[in-house]
Amino acid sequence: MTAAPRITDRASRTSRYISAARTVFWRHMHFVFKRPALLLPAMIFPLFFYMAFAGGLSGLSNVPGFDYYDYNAFQFTFVLLQSAAFGGVFIGFSIGADFDSGITRRLFLAAHDRSAVLAGYGAAALIRALMVWAIVFGIALLTGMEVAGSFADLVGLIWLAIVVNVAAFLFAAGMMTRFRTMQAAPAMQIPMFMILMTAPVYVPRDLIEGWVATATKYNPFTAIVESGRSLMAGDPFHVLLAFAAAFGLGALMVIFARRGLRKAEAALA
């Protein structure tokens, strides 16, 4: 039997990488679309949070010092970025489930570059997030949300959300490649929840008192949320800082995910 040809050609390596990533992406999307129960929570939760916060807490716009132009838009921005973050985490459930079932081992054996497997999951996370954002945005507009920002501002907001989604996904991937079981889901969810909830969720930062006020000062997600809201308001503020924070988190998570991948490869070898 002749030896298998070595893949030295860069174009071949690239095409194999894309093929592996696309296979994982397609499989995941096929799997969740056949089981709407898996897809619905990721869609419904952001909608629900938007309705609950924008609807139930709109009275906060009467607090002296609250000067944002529209409470619906104030909450929509947070919900958008929250769904970006949790969208990345939800894919972590799938990665964990695939480790539990053993299919990840098969994927790792099949893929020449194992990071392509993660890339496929990441692509699925992003596509799912885009679908959710479209729905939430549509419902928000229908329920009277005002958009003060320009098209360019909105594109900037979406790009910010994309970077958050990727960073969150890499965090989830890093956790799941280390724990390799869905039982570790709380270990993903809890840090994400804490980061999100210690940002200015309900009111602007200057109206928060107590320990959360201190936490918002050091929470990188604060800059992202505040910048996102400024884009929504058509008054971009610290956008570069926000992107720097998001990319910075993303870069850290790339390292985190790569190290997790190495651990998973070693464990499955």
Partner: protein, 345 residues
């Protein structure tokens, strides 16, 4: 054996099982039990043998009142399973296919719970539980949580739980599936002791030939919901009577030559791939003739075996299929999905 371990009183004439034309059809169509009739005498060990999907567990579920029959009649300990379910349950002990234990309770706590639900007073439960746990070899592990028990330990606890309230009739649904040989043998000894020493009637379902052969006083063979044979193991094998020869040709010998040569000595039988098998017309004495004939024709063989009739042969004779591997293919979730092909290459 001490008095406290002899828990089940004296045998009564009503401690048997009577089944007449039992039928069960599931809602989605399959007729799992199709007109089964049998009788189990008090104090007997009755082996209900069949492949996966034959209807064994469904029959047990009906006889233990967990499932109402669609048709026919069944009486356990003299009570009709359809109308006197409560009375039936008072008389029987059951160890189902899954041990079904609570991983957060200890063995002793299980005994306490089961005994209490059966109406035993606390001062009755403790000595009975201690005696039964010792009897099944779980005294040392009794205060450990069941979640840490091995498969064999769970089965033994299951048996002890089935006996806590002193039933006269015991149902065991594939009790040794998945157990190692040591655990299996220990359980067999225990079951035999219950029947021989205490007169407990045992209805045992199994897919293992050797289990039915070793344990059962009488065997009923079920296939696709129907009882295809019944009798003592010796009677059933004697029905078949004649031994079989199975041979495997040497590498350069075509199988057809071997088959043709053997066919002169008896009825050809289905055989595993690469081999040939016949039931000898004249019995084991023909073996020498077989060897001489093969030698005379220059047919070399890699393997030649003489098999005395087994329950598998009985099954084969009655159904045309071997019991081993005859089970219906049930969908088992493997937890692994095949990776689907992407839409585009």
């Amino acid at each position: 054996m001490t008095d406290s371990t002899k828990l089940n009183g004296n045998r009564r004439d009503t401690d048997g099982i009577e089944v007449i034309d039992l039928v069960h059809v599931y809602k989605k169509g399959p007729k799992a039990v199709d007109g089964v009739s049998l009788r189990v005498e008090p104090g007997e060990i009755y082996g209900f043998l069949g492949p996966n999907g034959a209807g064994k567990s469904t029959t047990v579920h009906i006889l233990t009142t967990l499932l109402p029959p669609t048709g026919g009649q069944a009486k356990v300990a003299g009570y009709d399973v359809r109308t006197d379910g409560r009375a039936v349950r008072d008389e029987i002990g059951v160890a189902l296919q899954e041990a079904a234990l609570d991983p957060f309770l200890t063995g002793r706590e299980h005994m306490r719970l089961q005994g209490g639900l059966h109406g035993l007073a606390p001062d009755q439960i403790k000595p009975r539980a201690d005696a039964l746990l010792e009897r099944v070899g779980l005294s040392d592990a009794a205060d450990r949580r069941v979640g840490g028990y091995s498969g064999g330990m769970k089965r033994r606890l299951d048996l002890a739980l089935a006996l806590i309230h002193g039933p006269r009739i015991l149902f065991l649904d594939e009790p040794t599936t998945g157990l190692d040989i040591q655990s299996r043998t220990a359980l067999w000894d225990e079951v035999e002791g219950l029947a021989d020493d205490e007169g407990v009637t045992v209805f045992l379902t199994t897919q293992y030939l050797e289990e039915a052969d070793a344990l059962a006083d009488r065997v009923g063979i079920i296939d696709q919901g129907k009882l295809v044979a019944e009798g003592t193991p010796a009677e059933l094998k004697a029905e078949i009577g004649r031994p079989t020869v199975e041979a495997r040709p040497a590498e350069d010998v075509p199988l057809e030559r071997l088959e043709a040569a053997l066919a002169r000595f008896g009825e050809p039988l289905p055989c595993q791939e690469g081999g040939a098998s016949v039931r000898l017309d004249e019995g084991a004495g023909e073996l020498a003739e077989v060897v001489r004939a093969l030698d005379a024709e220059g047919i070399q063989f890699a393997d030649l075996q003489l098999h005395a009739p087994s329950l598998n042969d009985v099954f084969l004779a009655k159904t045309g299929r071997s019991l081993e591997g005859a089970g219906s293919e049930e969908e088992q979730p493997t937890g692994e999905e095949p990776i689907p092909e992407p839409a585009t290459a």
